[in-house]
C-alpha cells in the first residue's frame, strides 16, 4: 500500500460520496430520523475503511455504498407515501412533559434519566421544569419544548401592536459584483442602483456588499471601512415633515379670521392627521 494508492482511492471515494449525498439530498444531511443517522455514519465508515486498508477491494466498497444509499433512497420514497411505515422506519416522538408534569414512563421508555432531561432543558436555557408546558423527544433524540404562555417571549401580537409585514431583503451587490437577479426581483435596475449609491456618496466599484429592504432603501458596506456612509432615514424624515405640516395647518387655522378659510385649514389639518396615523407603522424604523 503506497501513498499513491491512498491518494487515488481517496479521490474515487470523494467523487462517489459527493454524488451520493447530492442524490440523497438535504434531508440526509440534517439526519432527522434514525435511519438517516445510521446511513450517514455507515457511508462514511465504509469509505474510510476502503481508502485506508489494502485488503479491501474498491469495488466491494462501492457496492456497499450503493446498497446503503439505494435502500435509504427507497425508504425515503416509501415513507413519503405511508404513515405507518414512516413511524416504523423514521421513529416516533415520545412525550416527556405534558401539562407541566414529567411523564416518568416516557423517560423510562427512552432510557433518559432525570439528569439527562434537566441537561437537555438547560441546553435550551430552561432551568425550571415548572416553566414547561409540553416537551417531547424527537426521533433523533433532540428535545423540543413548548413553554407555558407566560414564559414565552413577548411578541408584537401579544401587545396588540399592528406591525407591517416586511419582505426579505435582496442582496444586490455581493463581493463588489452586481447581482442582477436580485435587482430584478426587487423591481429595480442598474440606473436606480447607481443613483441610490450616488445619494450615499459612493460608487459601485467602492461597494463590497449592498442590500435593498422592503421600502426600497439601500444599505451599503464599503471596501474601505474607515469611510462611513450617511445613515438613510428618508422614511423617518417624511414622518417628521408630515407631523410638522399638520401642526402648521392647525396654526394657520388659528391665525385666520375669515371663517371660510379657517374651516378649510382645520379640515385639512385633520386630514393630515389621518394620513399620519395611517402610514406611521410603515415609516417607523
Amino acid at each position: 500500500m503506497t501513498v499513491f494508492d491512498v491518494m487515488y482511492r481517496s479521490l474515487i471515494f470523494i467523487v462517489i460520496l459527493f454524488i451520493i449525498t447530492k442524490i440523497l439530498g438535504k434531508k440526509h444531511i440534517s439526519q432527522l430520523s434514525l435511519f438517516e443517522y445510521i446511513t450517514g455514519i455507515t457511508l462514511g465508515d465504509i469509505a474510510g475503511e476502503v481508502i485506508m486498508s489494502k485488503d479491501m477491494h474498491i469495488m466491494h466498497g462501492i457496492t456497499g455504498l450503493l446498497v446503503f444509499s439505494a435502500v435509504s433512497y427507497f425508504s425515503d420514497y416509501l415513507t413519503l407515501k405511508n404513515r405507518k411505515l414512516r413511524e416504523i422506519i423514521e421513529g416516533k416522538d415520545t412525550i416527556i412533559i405534558q401539562d407541566g408534569k414529567i411523564l416518568e414512563e416516557g423517560l423510562k421508555k427512552e432510557k433518559y434519566s432525570v439528569e439527562d432531561l434537566e441537561s437537555l432543558l438547560r441546553d435550551k436555557g430552561i432551568f425550571k421544569v415548572k416553566d414547561v408546558e409540553y416537551a417531547l423527544l424527537e426521533p433523533k433524540g433532540k428535545l423540543s419544548v413548548l413553554l407555558k404562555k407566560e414564559n414565552q417571549p413577548l411578541t408584537a401580537k401579544d401587545l396588540g401592536l399592528n406591525m407591517p409585514n416586511e419582505k426579505e431583503p435582496q442582496t444586490v451587490i455581493m463581493d463588489g459584483q452586481i447581482v442582477y437577479e436580485a435587482l430584478r426581483k426587487s423591481g429595480k435596475n442598474l440606473e436606480w442602483l447607481k443613483t441610490e449609491l450616488e445619494k450615499l456618496g459612493t460608487t459601485i466599484d467602492q461597494v463590497f456588499f449592498a442590500q435593498i429592504d422592503t421600502y426600497g432603501e439601500l444599505s451599503a458596506d464599503l471596501y474601505q471601512d474607515q469611510i462611513s456612509i450617511p445613515n438613510q432615514n428618508e422614511r423617518q424624515l417624511l414622518l417628521a415633515v408630515i407631523k410638522r405640516t399638520q401642526a402648521e395647518l392647525e396654526m394657520l387655522s388659528l391665525q385666520t379670521e375669515e371663517p371660510e378659510t379657517q374651516k378649510i385649514y382645520s379640515l385639512n389639518a385633520d386630514k393630515m392627521k389621518a394620513i399620519q396615523i395611517k402610514i406611521e407603522p410603515y415609516l417607523r424604523e
Binding site: 423591481g187 394657520l252 385639512n268
Partner: protein, 66 residues
C-alpha cells in the same frame, strides 16, 4: 390678510407637495403590497389636501390684488 401669514401658507403648500412626492416615491419603491397600498392611498389624500390649500392660496392672491 398679513403678508407674513401669506408666506406661511405658501411654505406649507410647498411642504405638502413634498410629502405627496415622497409618498409616491416610497409607494413605488416598496415591495410589500400592503405598504404599497397604504402609501399610495396616503399620496392621493395628500394630493387632495394640496388641492384645497392651492385653491385657498389663489383666492387670497386674488383678494390681495383687488
Amino acid at each position: 390678510m398679513l403678508l407674513e401669514n401669506f408666506i406661511e401658507i405658501k411654505k406649507t403648500l410647498a411642504a405638502i407637495k413634498g410629502i405627496e412626492a415622497q409618498l409616491s416615491i416610497l409607494a413605488l419603491n416598496s415591495s410589500e403590497e400592503e405598504a404599497q397600498i397604504a402609501l399610495h392611498e396616503a399620496m392621493i389624500e395628500a394630493g387632495q389636501i394640496k388641492h384645497d390649500i392651492q385653491k385657498t392660496v389663489y383666492t387670497l392672491e386674488r383678494n390681495k390684488k383687488s
